[in-house]
């Protein structure tokens, strides 16, 4: 369960207009929500706070009852490694690893053995329709294919929380809907919490709920 309680975050002087104001949110496993908002509305800041990459000025973030603010950077990093998966707009696959190795990366980082992580990643790649491309390198893939590999990487280690930051920003419409469907399907099937950050209403439509971030305040749409 992910709980955000009264989050405040501002970047420069305390007197400046805060980026986030009194954000409260509670998500249960299986929840799949979209956060929409203009550029600069604070979507990325919100994602970084949830991921434990930044800390709020005030308020609490609880993941399965664990308060991120009480952890040090290394502990938050470990938590991120075990419990979270990320999908980025630019895919961010390692160009020098094969599709299979990229997908298995999160498993390997969590200490799963080489053989097992390869098997599990291969299975997952089969599920996203890439079983034919296991040994290709990312540079040879299309955008849609790359993002599907990234989804496999994000989900392979069964994270409780999947954060997708504009996953369709670099994709054409066809690939985009494919990727959105896949993401939703994978998150739902694993009973994870999914948060999809986007400025595209079409993408947001794939979520259960849509929250709009405006003037630092998060409201249901």
């Amino acid at each position: 369960m992910l709980t955000l309680k009264h989050l405040h975050k501002s970047y420069r002087d305390p007197g400046d207009r805060p980026v986030l104001r009194d954000i409260c949110l509670e998500l249960q496993p299986g929840d799949y929500v979209a956060v929409v908002g203009e550029s600069g509305s604070g979507k990325s800041t919100l994602l970084n706070l949830i991921a434990g990459l930044e800390l709020p000025d005030s308020g609490r973030i609880l993941l399965d009852g664990q308060d991120l603010a009480l952890l040090d950077d290394n502990e938050r990093t470990r938590l991120r490694r075990r419990r979270m998966g990320f999908v980025f707009q630019a895919f961010l696959l390692l160009p020098h690893l094969t599709v299979l190795d990229n997908a298995a990366l999160s498993l390997r980082l969590n200490g799963v053995g080489h053989r097992e992580s390869q098997q599990r990643a291969a299975a997952l790649l089969g599920a996203v329709g890439l079983s034919a491309h296991l040994h290709r390198f990312p540079g040879t893939l299309s955008g849609g294919e790359s993002q599907r590999v990234a989804i496999a990487r994000a989900l392979a280690h069964q994270p409780g929380l999947v954060l997708a930051d504009e996953p369709t920003g670099n994709l054409d419409a066809g690939s985009a809907s494919q990727v959105l469907d896949l993401l939703r399907e994978q998150v739902k099937s694993r009973d994870s919490i999914g948060i999809l950050v986007t400025h595209s209403s079409a993408a947001a439509a794939s979520a259960d709920r849509v929250l709009r971030l405006a003037d630092g305040i998060l409201r249901p749409e």
């Binding site: 990325s44 970084n48 991921a51 990459l53 950077d73 290394n74 990093t77 470990r78 991120r80 490694r81 075990r82 979270m84 990320f86 980025f88 707009q89 630019a90 961010l92 390692l94 160009p95 020098h96 690893l97 190795d101 990366l105 999160s106 390997r108 980082l109 969590n110 390198f137 540079g139 990487r153 930051d165 670099n170």
Partner: protein, 835 residues
């Protein structure tokens, strides 16, 4: 258009990364400064040699030159009266010994009346009162000689002739400009008389009258010359006096080029990385309609400018460095070759210009390939994010293999004498070939090895293996610098080990006694020898007579060493190379020649050899070939008994003595001094001291190479730093993603360190192989041909292992430091950057 392009491609890069541009500039500057300073010192020493030789030969058109013990003076009137001779000027020339502890002084005895026609700068003018030159106890000193012997006009200066003291009055000191090296000038009659050389000349300087063809005059002179006396032109004489240090100077010049070469590689890698980093900007400019040629021109102009800036800094720095080196270690960089050479820097505009041009040239060369590549790249591909093109071309590797092949061919076809230029060319080819061919091969090997590394280090390995080109570029500076260091280490270690063993063999006695402190005029008489031999505390005494022979045409005289063969004969007491000749029953007496003599005359054990000794040349048989690290111009050893029988000369220069078990060196020294007519003239050294002295000299002569090696390694590490620094920006998103995926900052740093270490290991391993090969060339070809010294290969395993480890650790640190900017706080934001 060009302005806009310049701003977009160069200006922005310069503003964003001023440090990197500065570093590239400094890398070129460092290479050029090192190269230029070494060359400058070297060229200045050379200029001093030439100047000194030219001043001495003056306006002479021909020289007749004999060995150190000279030739019969009757040759002088014979030559002077030949048709076509305008002036013949007789010269006596020798190193006059002084007391132990004082350096000998080179003295020329001249007939001032003849010499002033040929050497006006030395003899004529108000500076030199002709009167002084006819006084039998007068000597005129050059300013340098007066300085180094601490005397002024009017003072007395003591010399040794045999064991007799010759006191000469300093009649005058020449002004600084007339002759810069230490030199004493005497009247020829006085010099003959006072130094016991009546009837003998060393040189006749000749000017032709121009009425008879020069060739005809040369022919008629040559017909008069006895064996061992040569007719030379001043140019040939000049070359010969330079030949003594030519090999050493060539090697120094090569060191300078090596410094430049390392710098060039650094420039190449920096420029390549800098180009690749900017490929998207270039693609954007191309997409906006900038023609390819213009883009290329702008990029090349940037490289040239960086090179030019570096070159200017480098020339200035090189000059300052040379001046510092000259002041602190001397013109020979501490090697002791030009110990008595007085010198100042002679910067020649041509050389400075050459080195000045090398900067932009290297930078242009380094920029050319990557600039052509990115300027010609389709815009669409350049605009796409990700690493630069890694499609591996087989061409560089093939070119590398070809270069290595030609190096091998060069060595195989190498002549065995003369300057080892082909050896140096082979080294350059090998180095270039290794840089091109070795990293791809190493990476291929590493791929096959499937090294089982844990995460995240496996990522480092994967990246290295997947980007062979970037890896090769990043590591080329390590490869080059490490291979040079390894080769020098290998050569120096082999040399020192061989020298150590050699000293053991050539210094078997307990103490060594030398008449006078060096020079050619001091010796021990037969009576003194008997007195020394009968000292009861000496178990055994061996005597040695050394003098010079003009044996090898066009080369300085070789040293003839006549000594007792020792208890087991020369085949045991000399450090032989190869087997000695089977002793013949009633053949000619044997002499034992050093490697140089064997090389130049192409002699094998058992071959006959003619030595210009005594009244007429004598035939000897080569008993064997021995290794001589002490005399660079070659040496011939013969039995003292044979020598005395042939020449009747009973004197000796050196004594080797074995002490009774309870005898103390100080006590024995006193006894030996008492046995000589004038004991203060003897230089007595214990073997341990002699050994230490020799090894000290060796170490000192290589001291500067350590500095060069350290500089090379620093440049190599700087290359690693630059490589990681250059990639850091483009890898920030990768690091951000890994941070998201749960890697701590520390783990990322360690990953980078491992990446640097792995890369350095590849580079250093390649460098080790290349360096080993270069070291072999240095040992077997360069040294053999420069100095005619063979040495046994000895690998300094421990220092090599330590250096290997050290360079890897340093590279790891350099990699982390290079990428530090990218691993700082902000990298998580990089995942959203899209450019």
């Amino acid at each position: 258009m060009i302005r806009a392009l310049w701003q977009a491609l160069v200006g922005s890069s310069l503003r964003a990364q001023p440090g990197r541009t500065l570093l590239a500039t400094l890398a070129i500057a460092a290479g050029i400064a090192l190269g230029y300073s070494v060359h400058l010192l070297n060229a200045s020493a050379d200029a001093e040699f030439r100047r000194a030789a030219l001043q001495l030969s003056g306006e002479a058109e021909l020289l007749v030159r004999g060995p150190r013990q000279g030739f019969d003076e009757q040759l002088y009137p014979q030559i002077a009266t030949l048709d076509g001779i305008a002036i013949a000027s007789p010269v006596l020339e020798f190193q006059a010994s002084r007391d132990a502890g004082n350096a000998p002084l080179r003295i020329i005895g001249i007939d001032a009346l003849r010499a002033r026609e040929l050497q006006p700068a030395l003899v004529a003018g108000q500076s030199l009162p002709a009167a002084g030159l006819f006084e039998p106890d007068s000597i005129i000193l050059s300013a340098a000689a007066a300085r180094s012997h601490g005397v002024a006009a009017g003072d007395l200066l003591d010399f040794r002739a045999g064991t007799v003291t010759v006191a000469l009055r300093v009649a005058a000191v020449l002004p600084d400009g007339s002759y810069r090296q230490p030199l004493g000038i005497m009247d020829i009659a006085a010099a003959q008389w006072r130094f016991g050389m009546t009837g003998v000349l060393h040189r006749i300087d000749i000017r032709l009258d121009g009425e008879v063809a020069a060739a005809a005059v040369q022919k008629s002179i040559s017909a008069l010359l006895p064996e061992g006396v040569e007719l030379l032109t001043p140019e040939a004489e000049n070359l010969r006096s330079a030949a003594l240090t030519r090999a050493y100077r060539t090697n120094l010049d090569m060191l300078a080029l090596i410094a430049l070469f390392t710098g060039a590689f650094l420039v190449y890698s920096t420029q390549t990385l800098s180009m690749l980093r900017r490929r998207s900007q270039v693609a954007l400019m191309r997409a906006l309609g900038a023609p390819r040629g213009t883009v290329l021109g702008v990029l090349l102009a940037e490289g040239t400018l960086i090179g030019a800036a570096g070159a200017v800094i480098g020339i200035a720095g090189g000059f300052v460095l040379a001046r510092q080196l000259l002041a602190s270690v001397g013109m020979d960089l501490g090697a002791g070759y030009f110990r008595n050479l007085q010198a100042a820097l002679h910067p020649e505009p041509a050389a400075a210009l050459f080195f000045l041009l090398l900067g932009p040239l290297f930078a242009l060369g380094g920029t050319l390939a990557p600039a052509i590549e990115i300027a010609g790249m389709p815009a669409a591909r350049g605009l796409r994010a990700g690493d630069p093109d890694e499609r591996v071309s087989a061409f560089p590797a093939l070119a590398g293999v070809a270069a290595i092949g030609s190096a091998a061919m060069l060595l195989w076809a190498a002549p065995s004498t003369g300057l080892p230029l082909h050896g140096h060319a082979a080294i350059a080819l090998l180095l270039a070939g290794a840089t091109l061919a070795f990293p791809p091969a190493a990476i291929r090997l590493l791929k096959l090895a499937r090294l089982p590394l844990p995460l995240p280090h496996a990522l480092s390995l994967a990246r290295l293996l997947a980007t062979p080109r970037l890896t090769a570029i990043g590591m080329s500076s390590i490869l080059v610098s490490f291979s040079l260091v390894v080769s020098m280490l290998l050569m120096i270690h082999s040399f020192r080990t061989s020298l150590d063993a050699w000293l053991d063999q050539v210094l078997p006695a307990d103490i060594y006694v030398r008449a006078g402190g060096g020079g050619e005029t001091a010796f021990l008489s037969g009576r003194e020898q008997q007195r020394i031999a009968s000292i009861p505390q000496l178990l055994r005494v061996e005597f040695l007579r050394s003098r010079s022979l003009l044996l090898l045409p066009g080369r300085p005289p070789v040293t003839l060493i006549a000594r007792d063969p020792g208890v087991d004969g020369f085949s045991r007491s000399l450090p032989l190379v190869g087997a000695p000749a089977a002793p013949g029953a009633d053949g000619p007496p044997a002499v034992w020649i050093s490697e140089l003599v064997a090389d130049v005359l192409a002699l094998q054990p058992g071959d006959p050899i003619r030595l210009p000794l005594g009244m007429q040349p004598q035939i000897f048989a080569v008993g064997g070939i021995w290794r001589d690290y002490a005399r660079q111009n070659g040496a011939v050893v013969m039995d003292l008994a044979d020598y005395r029988r042939i020449t009747g000369d009973q004197t000796v220069n050196d004594v080797a003595a074995w002490l009774a078990p309870d005898a103390r060196v100080t006590e024995i020294s006193g006894l030996i001094r008492a046995a000589a007519d004038d004991g203060s003239a003897l230089e007595i050294t214990a073997t341990a001291d002699l050994r230490r002295l020799s090894l000290d000299i060796f170490d000192r002569s290589f001291a500067v190479t350590w500095a060069l090696q350290a500089a090379a390694l620093c440049i190599g590490l700087l290359g690693v730093w630059l490589a990681f620094n250059a990639q850091a920006l483009s890898r920030r998103r990768e690091f951000g993603m890994l941070r998201h995926l749960g890697l701590t900052r520390r783990e990322i740093s360690v990953m980078l360190g491992v990446e640097g270490a792995l890369g350095a290991a590849i580079g250093a391993a390649c460098g080790m192989v290349a360096g080993g090969l270069i070291g072999l060339i240095l040992i077997r070809v360069i040294n053999r041909q420069s100095f005619h010294w063979s040495m046994d290969l000895a690998v300094p395993w421990l220092p090599l292992a330590a250096l290997f480890t050290g360079i890897i650790l340093c590279a790891a640190v350099a990699a982390c430091a290079g990428a530090a900017m990218a691993t700082r706080q902000e990298m998580t934001r990089a995942v959203r950057e899209d450019w």
